[in-house]
């Protein structure tokens, strides 16, 4: 698994990506304080993989997704995307170029209710992007939209209905169809199944996996639900306060959790298995405000392994190899944890 991932083509590389939001204006309108939503993130996304991005609310996972799509302008860093005519930095693209690039990357939002226009029929919602990307004849567009609806297990006739006529699960499938209608390479799923009931959630998850196989998609799967991430992802990145603290292949991460935050996060998940061995690590306190993060390691105030060095020095995301598999951790005591694992 790990070897063929490494051989795979790189689709997107993030280098030192940062997105800050100004919150306070000083004298003369100068920004003085920032929420560092995404703070110095390095990530590589390979073609055809599913990268799970997990973390608690406010950790910057959604901002990262939206920054990749240029819905937010990054403050610093670069995003190298491999287009057919060579790699380009998304941050430097002009508006026109970005519009073309958007054909390659699409997003599925959390709430299908608010992300579909209630005054548009499904056909109208889905045909707009087709029109934009050059399919001029109406007949052809109806054909494509119909095919898409069938691809997401819905009936062709549904295209002339309005969103309010559908259930939550159906609406989410329309949202997926809309993301797919321009034949993207990269689909960012932002909490795509979080608003759905469990029985419906499984339907949508299986659909997403089927579509990935059929169309050779790459997913960035943003969620707070670790059970879902484990099911769908090839690799998982754990974020805390704007930084990636641990990154590894899914199975590897679930077997060896090296960062104390990942350990606590995993132990806090209620598992629907009565025979599951419960050993909850309960963290002290709340997630600190990203406007005023703690010094050094952002996690040190809640960490059960905290030592002096954590308060002063910010740990880097370092590469380790465990049984020949890549594993990235940002912790001063990573070596110690590997030994114990």
């Amino acid at each position: 698994m790990s070897n063929n991932l490494r051989e795979k083509e790189v689709l997107l590389t993030l280098n030192g990506l940062a997105t800050y939001f100004p919150i306070k204006k000083g004298l003369f309108g100068k920004n003085t304080q920032y929420v560092k939503a995404v703070n110095n993130v390095d990530l590589t996304i390979y073609k055809g993989e599913t990268l799970g991005l997990v973390g608690e609310s406010g950790c910057g996972k959604t901002t990262l997704g939206k920054t990749i799509l240029q819905l937010y302008k990054p403050t610093a860093g670069e995003m190298i995307y491999s287009f057919e005519d060579g790699p380009k930095n998304l941050a430097n693209l002009s508006k026109e170029e970005m519009n073309v690039a958007r054909q390659k990357m699409q997003i599925v939002f959390q709430d299908p209710q608010s992300s579909l226009n209630p005054a548009f029929t499904v056909y109208q919602s889905l045909s707009d992007p087709l029109k934009k990307f050059g399919i001029k004849s109406r007949k052809e567009r109806r054909q494509i939209v119909g095919d898409l609806l069938e691809a997401v297990n819905m009936r062709r006739e549904y295209m002339d209905r309005y969103p309010n006529e559908f259930s939550g699960g159906q609406r989410q499938r329309i949202g997926i169809a809309r993301a797919l209608c321009v034949n993207p390479e990269l689909v960012i799923c932002d909490e795509a199944v979080s608003a759905l009931d469990v029985s419906i959630q499984a339907q949508v998850l299986n659909l997403l996996m089927k579509l990935k196989e059929e169309r050779g998609l790459t997913y960035i799967f943003i969620t707070h639900d670790l059970s879902v991430v484990e099911y769908i992802s090839d690799r998982v990145a754990v974020m805390y306060l704007g930084r990636v603290v641990e990154l590894a292949e899914s199975e590897d991460l679930f077997a060896n959790r090296l960062h104390p935050y990942t350990q606590a996060l995993f132990s806090a998940i209620p598992v629907a298995d009565i025979n599951h061995n419960k050993k909850r690590i309960v963290l002290k306190g709340d997630v600190p405000s990203p406007a005023n993060p703690p010094s050094g390691c952002h996690f040190h105030k809640r960490c059960f392994m905290c030592k002096e060095v954590c308060k002063e020095k910010e740990p880097e995301l370092r590469r380790f190899e465990i049984d020949g598999k890549e594993h990235y951790v940002a912790c001063h005591f990573a070596e110690e944890n590997i030994k114990n694992a």
Partner: protein, 338 residues
């Protein structure tokens, strides 16, 4: 030795909603007991009637809803004897004295449940002074102690702050402090941690378990998360379309489900630690329109075991052993699959 006796007994409860001349039997014949020192989890998908069951006990139903049948008996254990909640006037004096004092409730979203224009301390003091004859100073002292007990850091400063100055987890703690302020016998928690992050959820669970041990409180917890159930519940009731279709101890229901819906539900959720290879089997179809229900067993259109008989009428309760109850005529076939 703490007693685990029944405090609230619900029998054949039916709560119907009326709108546009149509009737939605949201809760359609539900029976269960809430016992002191135990946690009963009511679990189900959205629209199954789990929250309506909870609001029926508190008589917090909207105006277009009515308790049609059945009884909710609150056993006070003192001179008041058994109180039939369904017979009380919704906003009458008796009901109002029960709410908060004997039966307290915490809600999913603490931001909307707390009043944004009063300080947290004021709101908790109000609760104490409403139910008990104490002075302002006494109430404040007790509020301070409650906040400290709930693990709110800096409680002497926090007591004079407004809800928006609290974080989500801390607001939920304040809500629990308010709910526990008069030492209620029953705590109803309606999705108490759904809006919270998992690490904060773990803190709240720890707190609730501690309260259960210390005060012998009976907890009725409403949730949609099977994970929460396996973590918290002593007893479980699974609801589907207004009926409890299976109930029993957590071990019985989660370990060896007997109803096709419980079985299907457990097979449709990814379980942490089982890796990528695990099989997810979604339940086919969608939950039916509540105004246009199936004639017999509510799960029949989506059920893999369904036969003709199933569409005749809702199956009766079958008791398997002391605590395990299931409403399905095919339960023997389900148990074969284990």
């Amino acid at each position: 030795m703490k007693n685990k006796e029944t405090v609230i007994s619900v029998k054949n409860l039916k709560t119907f909603f009326y709108s546009d001349g149509r009737c939605n039997p949201a809760v359609n014949g539900v029976s269960f007991d809430v016992k002191s020192g135990k946690t009963l989890c009511v679990v189900g998908e959205s629209g199954c009637g789990k929250s309506v069951t909870a609001s029926s006990i508190m008589q917090l139903l909207p105006n277009n809803a009515r308790i049609e049948e059945g009884e909710i008996v609150y056993k006070t254990g003192d001179s008041r004897g058994d109180i039939h909640i369904e017979k009380l006037d919704r906003n009458g004096k008796e009901m109002r004295s029960l709410r908060g004092k004997d039966i307290a409730m915490i809600f999913q979203d603490p931001m909307t449940a707390l009043n944004p224009v009063y300080t947290v301390g004021w709101q908790i003091e109000e609760m104490i002074r409403n139910h008990e004859n104490v002075t302002k100073e006494e109430a404040r002292k007790r509020t301070l102690k409650l906040l400290a007990d709930m693990g709110i850091p800096d409680h002497e400063k926090r007591i004079d702050q407004y809800p928006h100055e609290f974080s989500g987890g801390m607001r939920q703690r304040a809500m629990i402090a308010m709910a526990m302020s008069c030492n209620p016998k029953v705590l109803i928690a309606d999705e108490p941690t759904t809006a919270l992050d998992v690490t904060i959820q773990a803190q709240i669970f720890e707190l609730m378990e501690e309260l259960k041990e210390k005060h012998n409180t009976a907890i009725l917890m409403i949730t949609h998360d099977m994970g929460v159930v396996s973590e918290m519940a002593d007893e479980v009731a699974v609801m589907y379309m207004g009926n409890i279709i299976e109930s029993g101890t957590a071990k019985e229901v989660l370990g060896s489900p007997k109803h096709p819906y419980t079985e299907a539900l457990l097979r449709s959720i990814p379980i942490l630690g089982r890796g990528k290879g695990q099989d997810l089997n979604p339940i086919r179809g969608v939950t039916p329109d509540p105004f246009d229900r199936p004639s017999g067993c509510q799960f029949e259109p989506r059920c893999d075991y369904a036969t003709k008989e199933c569409s005749n009428r809702m199956p009766d309760e079958v008791n398997l052993g002391k605590t395990h109850m299931v409403r399905c005529i095919k339960y023997q076939e389900v148990s074969k699959n284990e």
